[in-house]
Symmetry: C2
DNA sequence: TTTCTTTTTGCAATCGATTGCGTTAGCCTC
DNA sequence: GAGGCTAACGCAATCGATTGCAAAAAGAAA
């Protein structure tokens, strides 16, 4: 029961009157050691409060029992905590990873200078990597994937992509959302989001396709750059409103942007959904709770996280598991008007 | 520019025509190596794509440059992802930790059998620990703190506590909330929360004190056990309503419980705040967005996280930094009726 | 040129485990 | 009692860095 300073395996060996090799094998339940002896040694170790030093173990085994979860957020220092989507995704990934007996190492990348991903990989701090969001790092990811197998990315599937990704079909999701707005009779539908981000570009593509399919010409004046943070998105929406460009609906690239837009509209005395319909993307928890409740393209994060981690573990086992795409679902709530059945 | 397999420091030494010692020192910016030589070696290493192996480094230095963030959630598997409070706290801690150049290791503890904390500590996976929420582990924490300095706990300050904690003054916060309800003329105020959790017990204490100060006798029938999850809290609220016990206000131990109560009340046709006032605790992001917006006791998590990490780093440096208490603030919104200044 | 400093540099031990391989002990069989 | 075989166990190398100490090189002073 005594818990003296950091005792090492050699100490346990002394206590049990055996060699370190034997202790190591006993603790690892190696059948080379007879069962009763194993139990005995395990008991002694536990009673002494001995725990294997993971640094030493990792070095020798070349394994860390740890998965790195990376958020390539660029210089957007506050985004991790401000974006509920990332947060929820992280939680679900953590669940999946810890369930499999691995630790979760959070890697926030603020310095995306040449070789950032290689620096993470070569540090050997983790046995596998999940990258949440491609950000603008498509090339870096492609490059890393050439030599590093245990890597799975949450994000859109892009052309010329060699890495393994899991993500919602952004085009289909956007298309569904915009089709719904068109079905409600909306014709001047604005798009809010940063086209520079690959996933957003895909959502924009779906938006354009939906318009074209309805024989409408996309109006560039209705495409407004908007970042993920509430404040900047609010600004973007305000500018759209003040520009005087007429519009009767907003399709936002994320729920945060949509919520910001709703508030900006409210502040300008525009009724949602009376005057303008609003649809978001992600269907984060707040979406259902906001006023009015937000119509949004739902992504099944629980399933996404499970898929990501499943693929990652296959890859860690040496298998070259392929990318996967999840089907999004439009959840209709009050913010776009019309009946819940569309 | 070539990025061959995992190259080691010895390889860089060969490339630079020096010994490993020199490479090691150069990469650590050790002034023992003349500046120009240092730069040269650093350049060679960078160009070769070399990165120090952290397992080896950790073993030798007995440091991991990693902080463990622990959620002792017992068997409540889903809580991490479902509780916005923990999530937000985690995000802010992550910010503070990464800003200081450390990594964040998430430790979800599901097995709280004897010695769980010791097992984490002795694994030497981290240089310091943040425990988020005392759960029911007061004793285990006290015991660990005797021999392990770099440990800071988010939670209430309890009697007989030897570990370092940072937390809101729960009694004062609760008192402020209940005083406000009393000021609105409410007299039959229910308390929803699990008294078994130390922090909640403190909030209950504040509740009792506020009532006593108003010459009211706390009615045990108005104290309802309610867990942190939305579903169980909803059930608890429903039972209170159906019990027929008259009440005109609810003070919930957390926002999630409060939101669940609001929905249960709405489902029962009870008007909030007309018939019943509701106040929560934590002031999570959703609180302001809900319908009606929730009055809540605000905890400054950004400041809390900063304080935690500041103290932790002091302790990691060997200093026996003391506990700290943050002052809560009541944020009045519509859910309790009355005027915002009320 | 010699001697004494001061600056650079490298050898080798070390961190704490894991594991291939060889040795010892135990048991059976003839 | 010798030989053969297997089950247990330990020696020592290894993982990839860091660093105390001493040696070598360079520079300064005499």
């Amino acid at each position: 029961m005594s818990e003296e300073g950091p005792l090492k395996m050699a100490d346990v060996a002394r206590l049990a009157n055996v060699s370190m090799s034997t202790v190591s094998r006993a603790l690892a339940d190696n059948p080379l050691i007879p069962e009763d002896r194993r139990r005995e040694i395990q008991r002694i170790a536990a009673e002494a409060g001995y725990v294997v030093n993971q640094s030493a173990r990792s070095l020798r085994m070349r394994k860390t029992q740890t998965i790195g979860v990376v958020f390539p957020l660029g210089h957007d220092v506050g985004q991790l905590i401000s974006d509920p989507f990332f947060i929820e995704m992280f939680g679900r990934l953590a669940d999946e990873i810890t369930t499999r007996g691995y630790q979760v190492l959070l890697c926030r990348v603020t310095d995306t200078s040449e070789g950032w991903l290689n620096r993470i990989i070569q540090s050997h701090r983790q046995d596998g990597l999940v990258i949440v969001g491609q950000s603008d790092q498509h090339e870096a990811l492609n490059k890393a994937a050439d030599t590093y197998l245990p890597l799975v990315v949450w994000g859109g599937h892009l052309t010329g992509q060699t890495y393994c990704s899991v993500g919602t079909d952004n085009i289909a999701g956007a298309r569904r959302a915009v089709d719904h707005l068109l079905g409600l009779g909306r014709r001047r539908i604005a798009f809010l989001g940063m086209l520079e981000l690959p996933e957003i570009a895909l959502r924009h593509e779906g938006y354009v396709r939906a318009l074209r399919a309805a024989n409408l010409d996309p109006d560039p004046a209705l495409v407004i750059p908007a970042h993920f943070s509430f404040e900047t998105a609010y600004e973007a929406a305000r500018e759209l409103i003040e520009s005087g460009t007429p519009f009767d609906a907003i399709f936002a690239a994320s729920d945060i942007i949509a919520l910001a837009a709703v508030q900006a509209l409210a502040a300008a005395g525009v009724d949602v959904p009376g005057d303008v319909s609003v649809v978001g993307f992600d269907d984060i928890a707040i979406a259902a709770q906001s006023t009015p409740p937000l119509t949004s393209v739902h992504q099944d994060l629980a399933k996404g996280a499970k898929t990501i981690v499943d693929l990652l573990f296959k890859r860690m086992a040496g298998e070259d598991a392929p990318s996967a795409t999840l089907l999004p679902k439009l959840v209709v709530r009050k913010s776009c008007g019309g009946s819940p059945t569309g």
